[in-house]
């Protein structure tokens, strides 16, 4: 475990050196993400110029949710997506073999090796919005709320991680799996609002097959003090199930890749 942590830190260090080479890119990227976030906040403010509450969410709670949205999206694009995209490329080029020959857990090295540290800007800006929302909420945060928030956030990451792992694993059998990432990307956009405002089909999609809606809404509910304990429990259970399934599916895919079944 310690060894894996050290390795993970090393991955980060290597990527950091790379990103720092292109400082001008960094600035341009931060600027871009700032534009995206400012306009998104403006959109929320326009909606709230007509009402005090959107489906029971106050403007402060809504800001928290938007902040969490950018934190979650940023974290996923920071860590999981780059590795998954790289994996698909490696399967296509046949260089995945090298990763599998390393004396180390294959799922670890394949899903966490590459990252796009520039996305940290997104996470940081998201945190600023979320904190602004919390300040506007007025009521102080209880330790229990913070704990529930952290648990919900971590659980959300696990859910999305599992989804991406399953998509990545499919590339052992199918060639054009990046199409699934396109679908995923299209739905991510919808997580900027609480899932409960959506019509049934979209709400169900965002809470099950593409659980990005849950990953954003539930942590935001925890901070906004409107989280039902059973939602969190349900989400935890789902994450455990997803973790077990995706791990099994990955091993299954690997076995088929190395031809154990033939």
């Amino acid at each position: 475990m310690r060894r894996y942590l050290r390795l993970f830190m090393l991955f980060i260090g290597v990527e950091a050196q790379y990103e720092l080479q292109y400082r001008a890119n960094l600035v341009a990227n931060v600027l871009q993400q700032a534009m995206v976030i400012v306009t998104s906040v403006a959109a929320v403010l326009i909606l709230f110029s007509y009402t005090d509450s959107l489906n029971g969410w106050s403007i402060a709670q809504m800001l928290v949710l938007l902040g969490v949205y950018y934190v979650v999206q940023g974290m996923i694009d920071l860590i999981f997506r780059p590795s998954v995209e790289r994996l698909m490329e490696q399967v296509r080029l046949g260089t995945l073999d090298y990763a599998l020959l390393k004396p180390i857990n294959s799922q670890f090295i394949v899903t966490l090796r590459h990252m796009r540290l520039i996305q940290l800007a997104n996470v940081a800006l998201g945190l600023v919005i979320a904190v602004a929302g919390v300040v506007r909420l007025g009521e102080g945060l209880g330790a229990l709320d913070v704990l529930a928030f952290i648990v919900a956030l971590a659980t959300g990451f696990v859910l999305v991680y599992c989804l991406l792992l399953v998509i990545a694993t499919l590339s052992f059998w199918f060639v054009r799996v990046e199409n699934l990432l396109v679908i995923y990307g299209a739905f991510v956009d919808a997580a900027r609002f609480p899932v409960d405002i959506y019509p049934g089909w979209l709400r169900v999609t965002l809470s099950s097959v593409i659980p990005i809606g849950l990953a954003v809404t539930i942590p935001a509910q925890a901070i906004a003090g409107r989280l039902a304990p059973e939602s969190l429990a349900l989400m935890l259970a789902a994450a455990v199930a997803a973790w077990l399934f995706s791990g099994w599916f990955w091993r299954r895919g690997l076995r088929s890749y190395t031809g154990a079944s033939a």
Binding site: V14, D97, L100, L101, H114, A262
Partner: protein, 331 residues
């Protein structure tokens, strides 16, 4: 019987391939019931390799070389037979085994292109758990042997093909494996870079006793490095033995080169043997191995003063191998 480093016994790998059907109707039927065909890639091969050997693995494309290497490095689960490398069953992929072997594929890169090789090496050090002192020692040695110093701190994408291959070699050998599988390590490189790599492989084998099994399309690699070769064709082992005996075994003829001062008239030389080729005044004759000496003597006797030059030798190994693979007669 002592344990060899690599022991392969009846290794078999059969791929199941969906049969391609033509026409819309056939495609529709295939959706419902797919028909599979078993394609044997490796059909029961056995061999042993002792510690410190360099063995060349020869065969045309699709003969089963890469499949065998992949099975021995643990990437492929065979359909039958057994194999032990360093006492491990490769496809169990135990960390203890993976730490002691390497697989290098000349046409596939393992380095991250955007970052300098030195950074990738650090990651490898951590992955293989190489102690700092050993790491510095090996890196220093590889740097010296491969002349890496100017390459380590440039992003890999900026290196030429030859430079990249040297860095790839270093990446694959940082943990000083005891067994190295090299799949076409010199592919696409120019002649002088091929020479460098060859020299390096020989050094590695001499200094550290690394056991090496290598495939190559370039016979020069094999001739320079391997005393012993395995020839594989259509998944079967055709030959296992010394390189020089290979020519005798697979090519039951020798070549006599004749150059006449006044040139050949009316194809007169064809009575001594089959004409292999003619060019620039020189005629090459192909004669059965057991008659080579007698025929040479006859040429000298008959043509005497007219001879400008005469030579007797084995056919080039490429041609021998080529002939075997195209005629597919099992020797």
């Amino acid at each position: 019987m002592t344990r060899a480093i690599i022991e392969v016994d009846g290794l078999t790998k059969t791929f199941r391939v969906a049969e391609r059907s033509e026409g819309v109707g056939a495609s529709m039927r295939a959706l419902v019931r797919r028909r599979y065909k078993d394609v044997p890639a490796v059909a029961g091969i056995s061999f042993r390799i002792e510690a410190g050997e360099i063995v060349g693995f020869l065969g045309p494309n699709g003969a089963g070389k890469t499949t065998t290497l992949k099975a021995l490095s643990g990437l492929l689960h065979p359909s039958g037979g057994t194999a032990r490398v360093l006492g491990h069953v490769p496809w169990k992929r135990e960390n203890a085994y993976l730490r002691q072997m390497t697989l290098l594929m000349g046409n596939r890169s393992q380095l991250v292109w955007d970052i300098p090789a030195a950074d990738s090496f650090r990651v490898l050090q951590e992955i293989y758990g190489i102690p700092e002192a050993a790491y510095q020692r090996t890196l220093g040695e590889l740097t010296e042997l491969l002349d890496l110093a100017p390459l380590l701190h440039k992003p890999v994408r900026g290196l030429s093909l030859g430079e990249r291959m040297k860095v790839e070699f270093a990446a694959g050998l940082l943990h000083l494996p005891r067994v190295a599988f090299l799949d076409e390590p010199t592919i696409g490189l120019d002649v002088s870079m091929q020479g460098r790599i060859r020299q390096f492989v020989a050094e590695l084998n001499q200094r550290h006793g690394v056991t090496i099994l290598l495939t190559s399309h370039y016979m020069a690699d094999v001739v320079a490095l391997c005393k012993r070769v395995l020839v594989i064709h259509r998944g079967k082992l055709l030959y296992d033995g010394g390189l020089s005996a290979l020519a005798a075994r697979l090519a039951p003829y020798k070549l006599i080169g004749v150059t006449l001062r006044d040139g050949e008239t009316d194809g007169e030389l064809s009575r001594y043997g089959e004409i292999d080729k003619r060019g620039e005044g020189r005629v090459t004759l192909r004669v059965p191995r057991d008659q080579a000496a007698v025929t040479t003597a006859r040429v000298v006797h008959d043509l005497g003063d007219r001879l400008a030059d005469l030579s007797l030798g084995d056919p080039p190994i490429e041609d021998v191998i080529d002939k075997v693979f195209t005629t597919e007669s099992v020797a």
